[in-house]
Each structure stands twice: as structure tokens, then as C-alpha cells.
């Protein structure tokens, strides 16, 4: 029988704040068994991270465990004093954090930090002890895939990339072979290919070391790929808890169902994503009764009045009245609508309007950045390098069409997006907007064009002035272009209504908005002057699934309504699959594949696309072993000195000598309407099928 590593019983956590005492976790009970991965999922503010911190007893100073038990191998963690807790931390239980960039101390070498971590539990005496600790650290680094660990251990954190740092964090956490690993969103900040590497590493280490893992994430795809059991949290409560296959197959709680439905996925090509109305209540204003009732389609009188009980239904715990006696035996059965897994028809594009409807065209566009060399450096003969961020790109976008730009960080997708709008000046090549060459157009002539091409920026908050009310932010485009507005108030209301916001928002400042609202204001501002082209940089980054779903639906509706041409830049392939007509895959400043979204996702032709597609975490646990996971080795090289020949060849599993010698041209395979830059596209065998 497997040992129960962690048993949490009726855990309650409170925060002491200026507004009074807030209950962050209410009545949470779950188990983590030996060698088991238990996922915790929910939107921001639902208490996932608080659970992680509570288990490690690392709550912020104003947080307090106010009730319940946490039995770690039978010992109640809540009763331990700080000293006793410290003996467990780092030895029997360890933790890894979301942001690998900041979770290693920047001013000490990896070696120093890994030795200190070990010394905390077994004081090493003399040189021999020190050497043993060092050897163990090197061994652990090798195990997580740090090459040449004996040398690399001397380096400092900034000398490693984000993915490597997360590996080092994992190595550090596993130094003492802990029984429990608490992982707080360890891959959320990483590219999909790196995420796949880390997930593979975690799965492997679990198998090898038998570590039990409590895995916090907002990504249902990661849960489906990794976990055995799942805890769904909402507003500080566990609303559903049980076997991961069961929950994905037949989610019982309305929140779980809504969450699963709002997740965009390329295996579920729906026309619209389901959203959850309203938003997660703040802890200050929790509703009476069931916390989810105000957003629940099934909520009845009883839901608003009394708190539901945690019920055991079909070997699964659900916190919902629908399964209790309150509704009576013949209560409404909650079922998942059966509209899933339907490949959507390829949208036929309107090819009317001027000419062939091409509104954006680039010809061999290059945008290079030169290093700045200071005066004295120049005198002493230093020359800077060149970063080839965009290196010869041809694209065409028609009216009403959406082009997705995907690729890992550093592939040049954002630079291309900005170059199209001439927010950056191209080094070479031509950018044509609606028949006019804007490549070298003077600012005075470009200015009126700007009204027609708008950008939605990645960080909605830093792109909205904190000192302006939303009304003046939305009227600013008119001021800039000197266009009169007859009735400013009406115009603002109209714009807010277009993006689904109420007119009350007009008097607010940016900090008073939620992430989703701020994003919508950003979209409204971009739409103010009726543009033809919208470039959106990571439109859903940092948003919760259900909020992101709302934004994506909005973008889709606006496209239909105004016949907009979109360029959507994202590293989230699930987003692209939902909204894009065609997708351009970028690698080191070049397009390596360009095809209709439908084909690209099901039958990639370029090895890089293949690896990207196979790395997408699909929110369906049954596919976890069916899909071939192609793990890309290493990371994207620097655009400062790209590899010769095909830029992808060092990471490509099909590469041959020809790939090193000859740069493959982006070409159409006989009549297939898809472009691939690969010498051996026929070798790519990856197929995604959902049967």
C-alpha cells in the first residue's frame, strides 16, 4: 500500500489586513500519496498559491493557519514550531517557484547556493565534507540536464537562461530527495517547448525518485499531461477533487465544467469559446451560500442562501448543491454539452474590396539591431554585433483575415509586428499597406496612415496612462489626429459598449480596472479610429482562462463586424488555433512555415512546427500517452550569430549535412497552398488525431 505523504484536513487560512480578517482558504481537505502528482487549478485569486505556501508554512507575515490539520507522514505541520518546520523544509519537503529568473540569488554562484542548501541540514566539516556536498550538487545538476555541470556550477544565475534556471531550481529542490515537492506554477513563464522539457523532466524524476508532487497551475493542459489527481479551487474553496481522468471526462461542478469549456484548444475548434460571466469575487465581498452561485447558470434559491456540503459523488468530492439532498433526488443533472471535438470548417474569406483584398504586404523585410558602442569603445576599435531580429520575411494579409505569428521568445515575432506598423524602421525590404509603400514614408505622410493601423500592446496596464481616466484615454486618438468628436460622452460610451464594458468605466483610472477590463480598454482605444489593421501582441497573456476566452471571442466578433485584418502575435498555440485563419511560424527572424491554421495544427510540415505542435499541453488526459511528445533539445540560439544553413538544424532531429550547408527557401509544395522552409518536409510524420 502506498504511504500517505500529506493529509490536509479542514485547512483554514486567514489574512489579517487593513480591511479586517479575510478567509483565504476555507475547509480544504485533500491527500497526496507517495509518488503521486496532485494538481491544483483555478483562476487567480482562488487560493491556489496560498495552499502551496500554507503546506510549506511559508505564508506571508499577515497570513495565519487558523484551523485544521496538515499531517505530513502523520506529523501535524500546524503544531510544529518554526525550528521544527525548518528541519523538514529542504529535507523532506521542497518547493519550486514560478519565476525561475528571480528565485535564484543573483550574487552567489550556483555552487555556493547548492552547498548552503545542503549545509542547512547536515553541517559539513572540513574540506572532505565540502567536496562531498559539491559532488552531490554536480550529480543533481547532471540529472536535470545541465551539461558540463562540474564547470557550470561555478557560474552565476544570470549566466543561465530561464529554462536552465528552472532546471537548477528543481535540482536544488531535489538535492535531499524530498518526499514532497510543492511546485508553484513552475512552467508558466516558459515557452511551450521549454515547458515540455520541464514537464518531461518532472515526470521522469517522479518515476525515478518517487517524489510526491503538489502541482499548482492555471493551465488545464499541463494538468492533463501531468497529474493523477486534481483539486479545483474557487474563491478559497475546493469545489471538486478527484481522479484527473474522471474530472476531465465528466466534470461535475459547474465551475469545473465552465473552466474546461472556456479553454481554447486546437483539438476543439469551436466558433466561440464559452466564458464564465462575472469574475472571481474578492475575498472582501464573498457571497453568501455557494461562492460560485452568482456566476452559475444552474444556481437556485438554495445556492444563494446556504453553503453547500462537500459531497462524495462517484468516488469524487464535489462542493455543489446539485448533488445534495437540497435539490431532492431528482435534482437537475449537470452535463457537459456535447459540442466538443468538432473540427470547424475552414472560413471562406471575403475577397472583395480593392484588388485582391491584400491590405498588408511585406517583401523581404529585415529589421536588424546594432549594438551601441560608446565613443571610447569606438576609438579603441570595438565594433558591436548585429541582432537579426527579422531577417527576410514575406507575408500578405487580406481584409478580414487573421494571421497568427507564433514562435518561441526570441524568434522575432514582436519585432515583425512592430515593423509592419512602422513602429520600428526596417533595415531593408518593403512594407506595403493597402497599396502604399510605407517603408521610407516621412512621418508627416505616415501620420494619417497611422489611424488605419493600430496596435494592442502586451501589457494592458503599462500601455494605459495611470493618470488619465478611461474617457480621456479613449478620446486621445481623436485628439492626436485632430479629428473633431461631436459628442465625446456618447463616443466613449459607444466604444466601451463595443468591447463589452459598461459606461461606468469611463470615469475610472487604470488601476481600478481588472486585467481583462484593461485589455478591453486597450482594444477599444485601438478601434476608436476605425482601423483596417490591428496588430495584437499576446492579447491574452496574463489573463485567466475564462477572461481570456472573453477577449478572444470579442476579437473574433469585432473582426466579423468591421472586416478587420489581424496580426495576432502569441506563443500560446491554443489561442492561435482558435482565432487564426493562417499561421506563420517564425524561427530566428525567418518564417519556417506558413499555412492554413487547420492544416498546420493537424499536419505540420516543418520539424520546428512539429515540435511546437506536439509540445502544446492539450486539456485531455487521455491524449497524454497517445500523442508523440517530441522534445526539442536546447534552446533557441541568439539572433546575434545564427547557425549557418538552416537556422533550425542544430535542434532538428531530421537534419543532414545539406541542412548545414544550404539555407532552405520558403517554398510551396506542389499546389498545397502551404509554404515550408525545409529540405526534407516529407520526413515530418506527426499527425494529431482526436479519436
Amino acid at each position: 500500500m502506498t504511504e500517505k505523504i500529506l493529509q490536509v484536513k479542514k485547512l483554514e487560512v486567514k489574512y489579517h489586513t487593513r480591511e479586517g480578517i479575510l478567509t483565504a482558504i476555507h475547509d480544504a481537505s485533500f491527500d497526496v500519496d507517495e509518488g503521486e502528482i496532485v494538481g491544483v487549478v483555478g483562476e487567480s485569486g482562488c487560493g491556489k498559491s496560498t495552499v502551496a505556501s500554507a503546506v510549506m508554512r511559508l505564508l506571508p507575515p499577515n497570513g495565519q493557519i487558523s484551523g485544521g490539520q496538515m499531517l505530513f507522514r502523520g506529523k501535524d505541520l500546524c503544531q510544529l514550531d518554526e525550528g521544527g518546520m525548518r528541519l523538514l523544509r529542504g529535507k523532506d519537503m521542497a518547493m519550486i517557484f514560478q519565476d525561475a529568473m528571480t528565485s535564484l540569488n543573483p550574487v552567489f554562484s550556483i555552487e555556493q547556493q547548492m552547498i548552503d542548501a545542503q549545509k542547512a541540514r547536515m553541517p559539513a566539516t572540513g574540506q572532505k565534507g565540502q567536496k562531498a556536498l559539491r559532488e552531490r550538487a554536480v550529480m543533481m545538476l547532471e540529472r536535470v540536464g545541465i551539461s558540463d555541470a562540474a564547470r557550470q556550477i561555478k557560474e552565476y544565475p544570470h549566466q543561465f537562461s530561464g529554462g536552465m534556471r528552472q532546471r537548477i531550481m528543481i535540482a536544488m529542490a531535489l538535492l535531499s530527495n524530498p518526499a514532497l515537492l510543492v511546485a508553484d506554477e513552475p512552467t508558466s513563464a516558459l515557452d511551450v517547448t521549454l515547458e515540455a522539457q520541464i514537464l518531461e523532466l518532472i515526470v521522469g524524476l517522479r518515476k525515478e525518485l518517487g517524489t510526491a508532487i503538489l502541482y499548482i497551475t492555471h493551465d488545464l493542459g499541463v494538468i492533463a499531461r501531468l497529474c493523477d489527481k486534481l483539486i479545483v479551487m474557487y474563491a478559497g474553496n475546493i469545489v471538486e477533487y478527484g481522479d484527473v481522468f474522471g474530472i476531465f471526462d465528466r466534470p461535475k461542478h459547474p465551475y469545473t465544467q465552465a473552466l474546461l469549456r472556456s479553454h481554447p484548444s486546437h483539438s476543439v475548434r469551436a466558433d466561440r469559446l464559452r466564458t464564465i460571466r462575472g469574475r472571481v469575487p474578492s475575498l472582501r465581498e464573498l457571497p453568501l451560500g455557494c461562492k460560485f452561485a452568482p456566476r452559475c447558470d444552474l444556481a437556485g434559491e438554495v445556492c444563494h442562501g446556504t453553503e453547500p456540503d462537500f459531497l462524495l459523488v462517484d468516488r469524487r468530492y464535489v462542493l455543489c448543491h446539485a448533488y445534495g439532498r437540497a435539490w431532492g433526488e431528482a435534482g437537475p443533472t449537470v452535463t457537459l454539452p456535447s459540442e466538443t471535438r468538432r473540427p470547424a470548417a475552414v472560413r471562406t474569406l471575403e475577397r472583395t474590396g480593392s484588388g485582391d483584398g491584400v491590405i498588408v504586404k511585406t517583401v523581404q523585410v529585415r529589421t536588424h539591431f546594432r549594438d551601441h558602442v560608446a565613443f571610447l569603445g569606438q576609438v579603441m576599435g570595438q565594433t558591436g554585433g548585429t541582432v537579426r531580429a527579422v531577417d527576410g520575411v514575406d507575408i500578405e494579409i487580406r481584409r478580414g483575415e487573421t494571421l497568427g505569428l507564433v514562435g518561441e521568445s526570441g524568434s522575432g515575432k514582436t519585432t515583425l509586428g512592430r515593423t509592419i506598423l512602422r513602429l520600428l524602421d526596417p533595415t531593408d525590404g518593403t512594407v506595403i499597406i493597402d497599396g502604399q509603400d510605407i517603408t521610407r514614408m516621412p512621418q508627416s505622410k505616415l501620420r494619417p496612415m497611422r489611424a488605419r493601423m493600430q496596435m494592442i500592446f502586451q501589457d494592458p496596464f503599462s500601455s494605459l496612462s495611470p493618470r488619465m481616466k478611461m474617457a480621456s484615454i479613449l478620446l486621445e486618438p481623436f485628439r492626436i489626429h485632430g479629428l473633431p468628436v461631436d459628442d465625446p460622452k456618447e463616443k466613449v460610451d459607444e466604444l466601451l459598449a463595443t468591447v463589452g464594458l459598461s459606461s461606468e468605466q469611463a470615469d475610472k483610472y487604470a488601476h481600478q480596472l481588472s486585467g481583462g477590463q484593461a485589455r478591453r480598454v486597450g482594444i477599444a482605444r485601438a478601434l476608436a479610429l476605425n482601423p483596417d489593421i490591428l496588430v495584437a501582441d499576446e492579447p491574452t497573456a496574463g489573463l485567466d482562462v475564462s477572461v481570456a476566452a472573453g477577449v478572444l471571442n470579442l476579437l473574433k466578433d469585432l473582426r466579423e463586424e468591421f472586416n478587420l485584418a489581424y496580426v495576432i502575435i502569441t506563443h500560446n498555440l491554443n489561442v492561435i488555433s482558435f482565432i487564426a485563419d493562417r499561421v506563420a511560424v517564425m524561427y530566428l527572424g525567418k518564417i519556417v512555415e506558413l499555412a492554413e491554421a487547420e492544416y498546420l495544427f493537424t499536419q505540420p510540415r516543418h520539424p520546428y512546427t512539429e515540435a511546437l505542435m506536439s509540445a502544446i499541453p492539450i486539456p485531455d488526459p487521455r491524449l497524454r500517452d497517445k500523442i508523440q511528445h517530441i522534445i526539442l533539445e536546447g534552446e533557441i540560439p541568439s539572433a546575434r550569430n545564427p547557425p549557418p544553413g538552416c537556422p533550425f538544424h542544430p535542434r532538428c532531429r531530421y537534419a543532414e549535412e545539406r541542412c548545414i550547408a544550404e539555407v532552405p527557401r520558403l517554398r510551396e509544395e506542389n499546389g498545397s497552398q502551404r509554404l515550408t522552409a525545409c529540405h526534407f518536409p516529407e520526413r515530418v510524420q506527426f499527425r494529431l488525431s482526436w479519436d
Binding site: 511559508l58 521542497a94 517557484f97 519565476d99 528565485s103 543573483p106 551601441h372
Partner: protein, 317 residues
């Protein structure tokens, strides 16, 4: 690293040459004949001509500048026309007193200011933290000449526990130290407050970083986390401020030396200005400028030691 040092050295020389040129030209900007104002109204024309020759004033301006740069780069400030002593000697006898004063003040500021800041950061919003805040901000607002006067009046005049002026008896170390206390404290007061606030702010920021939480999760002892993992990070901004602060300290030293009648660079430059003795002004200001540049270089080097992310010889992207 070597490229960087070479570059910095070239930069230092460039700055110093520019300062020399500027100081040499300054003589011509001030109204009146420098030699005349130096010798006073009743000097005879013969002596004036001789002095002008000694000060190079009879030559074309470009030659004056060139000569000055040439001589000073070869280590000679020339001879004082009044005393006939070499100016190098004058600077040499004044400089150590100022250096000692500046470094002792700086040391005092660090020794008092850093623990105050550390305490405030570890006990935020405690009543001691609030008192420290009041003290720190009061300290920042007291200029050294006000603090100096107060200390002088209080401890030397009223209570008579401290010597008021001068350096103390020659060769008597204890006497030298007691004479140093009041001026050093006067100079350090501003910096105590400033450093305390700075350390508090940067420590609080560092303690909120994920790597501190990660260190806690790894089971490291709170002492190790605080004194090793947090403090080293928190000291980085302090070093930057101290580098620039040396210049500030030198300026403060001028006042403090005058108030306490201590020989030193401040007194030397002040008296030279009073007597319109331009060669000495030039030598004094140049020495202070050199110290300022050198202190900044030291601070930058200390940086690399504290923060491995800073690579001085790399071209920044």
C-alpha cells in the same frame, strides 16, 4: 577587466586634463590682473612683472594652458610665489588631514547608518523603526556646517568636554583623535540618516524577492538568509551612492575644516581664494577632482565584486 581599467584610466586622465585647462583659463575670467590682486595694491611694477613671469601670465594663453597641463602631468604644481615653497609640499601636508577626516566620517556613517537601516528593515513599522525614521530624516536635513557649529557650541564651549579647534598637539595620537571627533561627527550626520534610509529601502525590497522565499523553502537558517543572502544584495545600491558621496563629503569638509580651524584641503583652498593665489587654488581643486574620480572608480570595482551580473568590460547591447 584590463580593457575596462585601461578605458577608465584614459577617461580619468582626460577629465583631469580638462579640469587643468578650465582652472588655468579661470584666471582670465576673474576680473583684474591676477598678479596684481595677489600682490596687493601697493606692489611695485617690477615685482608684478616678475610674478607674472613666474605665473606664466606673460605668455600667450594657449602656451599657458599647455605648460600647465605638461607640468602637472609630470607631477609638479609649481612654486608658491609668496612662500617660495613648492605647492606639492603645501598640498601634501594638507591632504592627509582631509583624507582622514573624510574616511573617518564615512566610516562613522556606515557603522551607525547601516545597523540603523538593518534594524528598521527587520522591524518595519515598529516604534523603533518610526523613531529611526524621524532621526534619519532629521539627520539628512542638517548640513555639516550647521551640525558643526552646534557640536562646537555644545561640547566645546558649553560643556567643555571636547577640544574646539585645531589638530591637537603634534605627535600625540590621542590628542589628534579627540580633535577629530567633533568634525567627523558633524560631517557624518547627514550620511548616517541617508544610509539608514537607503539600507532600509533596499533591504525591504530584497527581502520580498522570490530568492529569499526560495532560501526559506530550502530550510536555510534565518541568520544565514539575512546576513548572507539578503544583505549582500542590499549593499549594492549603497556602494553606488558612496562613490558619488565622496565628492559631497569633500565639499562638506571645506566648511567643517573652516569651523574647526583644521588644516586641510578645505582650509588651503579657502585661504588661497581669499589671497587670490590662483596656482594654489588650481592645485587644490585638481587634487579634490582626482580624489573624486578615483573614488568613483573604486566604487565601480567594488560593484563587480558584489554583483557578478555587472561585467565591466563587456559592450552593452
Amino acid at each position: 577587466m584590463r580593457t575596462y581599467l585601461l578605458k577608465r584610466f584614459a577617461m580619468t586622465v582626460l577629465v583631469l586634463v580638462l579640469v587643468i585647462v578650465y582652472l588655468t583659463l579661470l584666471v582670465h575670467v576673474v576680473p583684474g590682473d591676477p598678479a596684481k590682486s595677489l600682490l596687493g595694491p601697493r606692489a611695485n611694477p617690477d615685482l608684478i612683472a616678475k610674478t607674472r613671469a613666474a605665473m606664466d601670465l606673460d605668455k600667450p594663453v594657449l602656451v599657458q594652458v599647455g605648460n600647465a597641463v605638461w607640468k602637472i602631468l609630470h607631477g609638479s604644481f609649481g612654486t608658491d610665489v609668496f612662500t617660495g615653497r613648492s605647492i606639492n609640499e603645501l598640498v601634501g601636508s594638507a591632504l592627509p588631514h582631509t583624507l582622514i577626516l573624510a574616511w573617518v566620517s564615512l566610516g562613522l556613517a556606515v557603522v551607525i547608518g547601516v545597523p540603523l537601516g538593518v534594524y528598521s528593515a527587520t522591524h518595519p513599522d515598529s516604534w523603533l523603526d518610526r523613531i529611526t525614521a524621524v532621526i534619519s530624516i532629521s539627520c539628512i536635513t542638517i548640513p555639516s556646517y550647521v551640525g558643526g557649529l552646534f557640536l562646537l557650541l555644545l561640547f566645546a564651549v558649553k560643556f567643555k568636554v571636547m577640544p574646539a579647534i585645531g589638530l591637537g598637539e603634534e605627535g600625540n595620537v590621542l590628542d589628534y583623535v579627540t580633535h577629530l571627533i567633533l568634525p567627523a561627527v558633524a560631517l557624518a550626520i547627514t550620511w548616517v540618516g541617508y544610509l539608514a534610509r537607503l539600507i532600509r529601502a533596499s533591504l525591504l525590497e530584497v527581502l520580498n524577492q522570490t530568492y529569499i522565499r526560495a532560501a526559506m523553502a530550502a530550510g536555510l537558517s534565518p541568520r544565514l538568509i539575512f546576513f548572507k543572502y539578503a544583505l549582500k544584495n542590499a549593499l549594492i545600491p549603497m556602494v553606488a551612492v558612496l562613490g558619488v558621496g565622496i565628492g559631497n563629503l569633500m565639499a562638506g569638509a571645506v566648511f567643517v575644516e573652516l569651523i574647526f580651524s583644521r588644516p586641510g584641503m578645505g582650509t588651503l583652498i579657502y585661504n588661497a581664494i581669499q589671497g587670490r593665489n590662483f596656482p594654489i587654488v588650481r592645485a587644490g581643486v585638481l587634487t579634490v577632482a582626482f580624489l573624486f574620480v578615483a573614488a568613483n572608480l573604486l566604487a565601480d570595482l567594488a560593484y563587480t565584486y558584489l554583483d557578478p551580473r555587472i561585467q565591466l568590460d563587456k559592450v552593452r547591447g
